[in-house]
Symmetry: C3
Subunit: 252 residues, 3 copies
């Protein structure tokens, strides 16, 4: 009998750390359906991980259990959380990683996971979160995972304005922002800044599809997260602009 | 009840784009068996993706559904295809990606996938191909995926001669060609060219196994696709030769 | 009916070589549960692969079948092995890759896999090990995989002293050793050497958790394998020290 999917998101790359978590899951729940959302979150970049979770959770079937580990604070007093929302479960550290997705999904209940005494101080993904996710998939009632708690760290991505940030850069060199497109706009005056200093300011055309853009020209496009991306056809906008994750973006 | 495997091939790297496609598949077909063929196709390199599909599809069980996305033309009028062959299904853009494998597998029927009105113009892997593959796995009759069509873009790899190309370079630095080995040949006169200009011409020994080659010497070997590879033991032939995918190779 | 997991470990990266192995497994055992332990073993680094297997196998459920391929000797007379231990199976080349894990797991029986006549000389992962693992998962008795044999290559990691080696470097730049921590030690005098020459010697503080370390300072920590790691908070100890896998480490 197949269980609800356990969906993994980490900053571990495709290392054996991921494999160890899968082994632990199968040891607790032999029929678990384990799916990788991504492990390519930049090391320790909680905010990038939170973005991937936020824009992708809805593509998974109701009941899915998201096990997210971007956890620079492992071994400190930061809490280990399990959040139950209307349709999903989210497990991960209390550092904001889960908060944008869980808030949008509609939080119903939150517990602090019990940390087994034999857990390491360096790898709660394997020793705390994986066993909890597996037990949940195997049928353990949510409240038996720990005791009720209020998360300490919350943040939200600002999603409705003309100012935002570069939330990730993809393999094609697209600089992906959290700014939604404006209707019927053919050009955007875009400004990029880092550390309070503007380093790029220009008017960029809008293209509906990558292939429709002229060769070699920076342009804006509505990306697959339904937010604005800065792109170059057959090239890397990110390396051309020198843009980095967390740079500020403004439509001026 | 387990379904036929859905086998993914993309140029997305191991990003959340792949994870989103898996979520969509499970949403439409909760018991889908999802297998990654590879996501390390060089960005937008349709020809490399077509090669991986061609030389690997036969290792999968009959009934397998290949979902292939290397799709620089997404959002244009290029069609979204599903091809039924004697033993397999191939879904992907009409840009040649599917054509060498599908032709060899024996095409029985081809439809143009219906594009849902809410599909993005940037990510048909998630919005068009993944739902179609999942519905097929869940039992939808092939013809209900769309209307019959004749593919527009076809290409074949030239596989029976002495001239060919570098189809991919693997992690070990082997430059893999599409030229089949000649029987009982101990040496090959090899020439490499790019943009019509020859940049390498030499006689190379043939070795049956990597470990049998002398240290530090370029040699030819019959690779795992049963075509010629240029290799160096414990080194990278590709970086030593400066060879790139799509360079022309001739046995002279 | 789901079978015992087949757990893959290779040095193939996330290339189509891995996908081909999965296709072969499904062709022989349609309901196989295939799990990736890791494919990021450095190319041809048998010792690093052996370490990953050693420190992770115990996280998998009893009955798991480990299919490990780091195989620079493919195509030579090196044997293809299947080892049965008290709770697990290990399949891979006879080059030491399996030996530390299998020895610790308690070897019960070993056979030399029969090599099918049509197997390539370059890819036994696909042509020899994958079919054998799949048949075992599908219920073939162990002894029908081949004939009894004594492995030729064995090595062990030295795990109980004050001298050891860098066994791997992770994505966060932690240099992971095989030296177990000493109890109640607050500082360690550490020396690093390569090719018999010492290139680093210093006293390093011990921290129980990454986040508790002071910024920018090299420190030691008990890592997730319960051995000592050299780390820098929010930085790469490996690039700061210029340390490489196989460098010698001594606590002096």
């Amino acid at each position: 009998m197949q269980t609800k999917p356990i969906v993994l998101l980490t900053d571990f790359g495709w290392s054996s750390y991921v494999g160890a978590m899968k082994g632990v899951i199968l040891s607790h729940c032999p029929h678990a359906q384990i799916i990788d959302l991504t492990h390519d979150v930049a090391p320790q970049n909680v905010r990038e991980g939170a973005w991937f979770l936020l824009v992708n959770y809805l593509y998974f079937p109701p009941g899915s259990i998201f096990l997210a580990v971007v956890d620079p604070g492992v071994g400190t007093r930061r809490k280990a959380l399990a959040i139950k929302t209307k349709d999903y479960y989210f497990l991960g550290p209390d550092n904001g990683l889960l908060s944008p997705a869980a808030a949008r999904a509609g939080i119903v209940d939150t517990v602090e996971l019990t940390v087994p005494p034999e857990a390491s101080l360096t790898f709660h993904g394997r020793d705390v979160f994986a066993p909890a996710a597996a037990k949940l998939a195997a049928g353990l009632p949510f409240r038996e995972l720990g005791k009720p708690v209020v998360p300490e760290v919350n943040f939200a991505f600002y999603l409705n304005g003309r100012e935002g940030e570069v939330v990730t850069i993809d393999r094609f060199g697209n600089a992906i922002t959290n700014i939604p497109p404006l209707p019927d706009r053919r050009k955007y005056a875009v400004s990029l800044a880092r550390g309070g200093k503007s380093y790029f300011r220009s008017e960029l055309p809008f293209c509906p599809a990558y292939a429709l853009a002229p060769e070699g020209v920076l342009f804006l496009i509505t990306g697959s997260s339904r937010t604005l991306e800065i792109s170059v056809k057959n090239g890397s906008a990110a390396s051309r602009l020198g843009v980095e994750v967390a740079d500020r973006v403004a439509i001026v």
